[in-house]
Symmetry: C2
Subunit: 409 residues, 2 copies
């Protein structure tokens, strides 16, 4: 028998009625001849309720105790869902993070999974049980309760699927799959039937926030077929399957267009072009815990160089201050910034075997008179930075240029 | 350094403000040079909230999953109290039932404690931590979450105190100690400074419901000094200390007067006085899960016997039906019952060494024209059943007869 892991988020289990609907779906999956492991989040609102209780005590709280507190949210859901399954006649059993021995490191509130001991679960599955697992939580080596951070239940589900060698890990969300781009920007955006892990990683990190990036990484690493689908759809075949590249896969050159509105660009120009200058420029920024996204370096005039990078827009003010200090120290000609920019990226594994994608992209943008401020490329992605007012126009132009509204056959 | 275990019930931790007040008291106890372990219940209302969620699914629920569900209540409290302690500058650490390895049997919803592993807690105490433990919950050998049943947090506290060889286990409640009788019945009732475990057991089981009877048994078995006191009082010296009998103890003949309004009396008369008749009479009652309290047997006429016993008033209707069936089978002369009766009991270890207590008791009741319907005696207790209308009169008459309003010196 195949094992299917299903994950339901807070909204899907947000009331007793919804928990009962989840129970029906789980039983339907079992009735198709599968063994089913269900991973659930806290009921929507519950985590915030717990956090607000804690905030009445203090704003900066011990993360160990915070994990003890909020991990109760999923524990409530596993008990209720298991009861609902039993009430509908299924045999079912719940497991907390501690009970499945979801071993993590000891970084409270954003722990990483190290190991899962699945022997008990396999025995229980073989005995005919549906298994209900608390997402988002684990224990460290000393038995302290840890949590995996926002969206950690996705990671729990993938880790369970990997450990159990599941046929598929199904992530139920409020969207019905992964689209060629955001339908709110391009109404012609089309749902993808399949996408590779690598593409999904680029899409997710670039703003199509359907899945936790860590869950996708994990799934890719352990080669767990991952399906994103809506809670209103039927399991296999629906939504978007994220998997490894294979011959049967729809061979589109470009899978989708991701974008990110939250970027800001910083440039320092006329700095000495010598070893170590990059780390002198970026060191103070990363030390201030500011995450750097794109980095581009150009050779300038007279043995100097120009250096441009992007950060999250929220970090722009802090980053520009730091960069100005560095500029003075290095005797830079100029430091300037722009927080009214966006990043648009073409993503597709097909790029590897298709030349000329970049020039088609630039030409399509030029046709709309969109000026490109910055370019960065990788194996399966080309990103450009443009003025934020061109976001919608640029996305639509590219969507049309690469024919994403039509399914390739 | 001495270890003090303190237990706070749901009302004492019913809001963030109250949790902060508990934190102040715990820190005050630590500042007197003690190591402190705090056992807490779920915030008042929380357990009922969880149960009502479950009841929306089903009325007859898996007790395993019910324990998973309601054990989250105490887990929330330990996190919040630990945060409050930390916010006030104390170092503190929380433990769930699973984390202290509070090993119980596997009888969900009324598990019994088998063992506690306290090594980690001792290490943490010696490192200067205040330890906050979730009451009411444990784990069985397989790691399933169990709960100890209503009032189980008292038992957790006593078990912790026993395992840690604590100087005292302080149970904070909404009463300020154990009284000679219920002050609502006899306003002259006096708070006792000390009482023995045995007396407390008799007082508790007879209706003075200050402490869980299992907690008192446990404390007596492991000789853990147990103090009952109000959340508004200061620790040592306050409330009532429940301990072993010793020479220094206030040598009252009678410690208190307990009573129970919830009794009903059943009599079967004229049954053959032969071996096995008692079990034939009581067997069907206990098989129906009806608890029997007092049992009295008199020799009747002509080789027959009369048999009288009491049950909880809620079980009266069922019990009388069963008894009538038995009466027919045994050819009894008569089966009758009375559910308008109460039990009044004198309790005191001093009885052992003082003759004539019973006759003083009966005389005091006779003086008030109170007819005694049934008598039962043990080493440290004399119980009488009387018409329920005489409860208050009887309790006051006895309270005065044995001088309980005055402290003996």
């Amino acid at each position: 028998m195949s094992i299917i892991v299903q994950k339901y988020g807070g909204t899907s289990v947000g009331s007793i009625e919804r928990i009962q609907a989840v129970a029906d779906r789980v039983i339907a999956t079992r009735d198709k001849g599968n063994q089913v492991v269900v991973v659930v989040s806290a009921m929507s609102g519950e985590t915030n309720r717990l956090i607000s209780l804690a905030n009445q005590i203090d704003k900066k709280l011990s993360s160990r105790e915070m994990d003890v507190l909020i991990s109760t949210g999923e524990q409530v859901t596993i008990a209720l869902l298991t009861m609902a399954l039993q009430q509908k006649g299924a045999t079912a059993k719940s497991y907390t993070g501690s009970q499945i021995k979801m071993l993590t490191d000891n970084v409270h509130s954003k722990a990483r999974i190290i190991d899962i001991q699945c022997e008990n679960i396999k025995t229980d599955l073989d005995a005919g049980n549906i298994i209900v697992v608390a997402g988002f939580q684990g224990v460290d080596e000393l038995g302290n309760i840890t949590t995996l951070g926002r969206g950690g239940s996705d990671t729990t589900a993938v880790a369970m699927a990997a450990a159990l060698n599941a046929k598929e890990c199904q992530i139920y969300t409020d969207v019905d799959g992964v689209y060629t781009t955001d339908p709110r920007v391009e109404p012609k955006a089309r749902k993808l039937d399949q996408i590779t892990f690598e593409e999904m990683l680029e899409m997710a990190s670039l703003g199509s926030k359907v899945l936790q990036i860590r869950a996708v990484e994990f799934a890719g690493k352990y080669n767990v077929p991952l399906r994103v689908l809506s809670s209103f759809e039927e399991g296999e075949g629906a939504g978007t399957l994220i998997t490894t590249e294979d011959d049967e896969m729809e061979q589109a050159v470009i899978s989708g267009i991701a974008f990110n509105r939250d970027e800001a660009q910083l440039t320092i120009s006329g700095v000495p072009d010598q070893p170590g200058v990059a780390s002198e420029i970026l060191g103070p920024i990363t030390k201030a815990n500011i995450e750097i996204d794109m980095i581009v370096q150009n050779v300038g005039e007279d043995g100097t160089t120009d250096f441009t990078f992007t950060v999250h827009r929220n970090d722009y003010a802090a980053a520009i201050d730091l960069l100005e200090a560095t500029g003075k120290k290095l005797g830079a000609k100029k430091v300037k910034g722009n927080d009214a920019i966006v990043k648009i990226s073409l993503v597709g594994v097909g790029m590897r075997s298709h030349a000329g994608i970049a020039s088609s992209m630039f030409a399509a943008l030029a046709k709309e008179a969109i000026n490109i401020l910055m370019i960065s490329t990788s194996e399966i992605k080309i990103s450009v930075v443009v003025d934020e007012k061109y976001l919608e126009l640029g996305v639509r132009a590219l969507h049309s240029e690469f024919g994403l509204e039509q399914k390739t056959t």
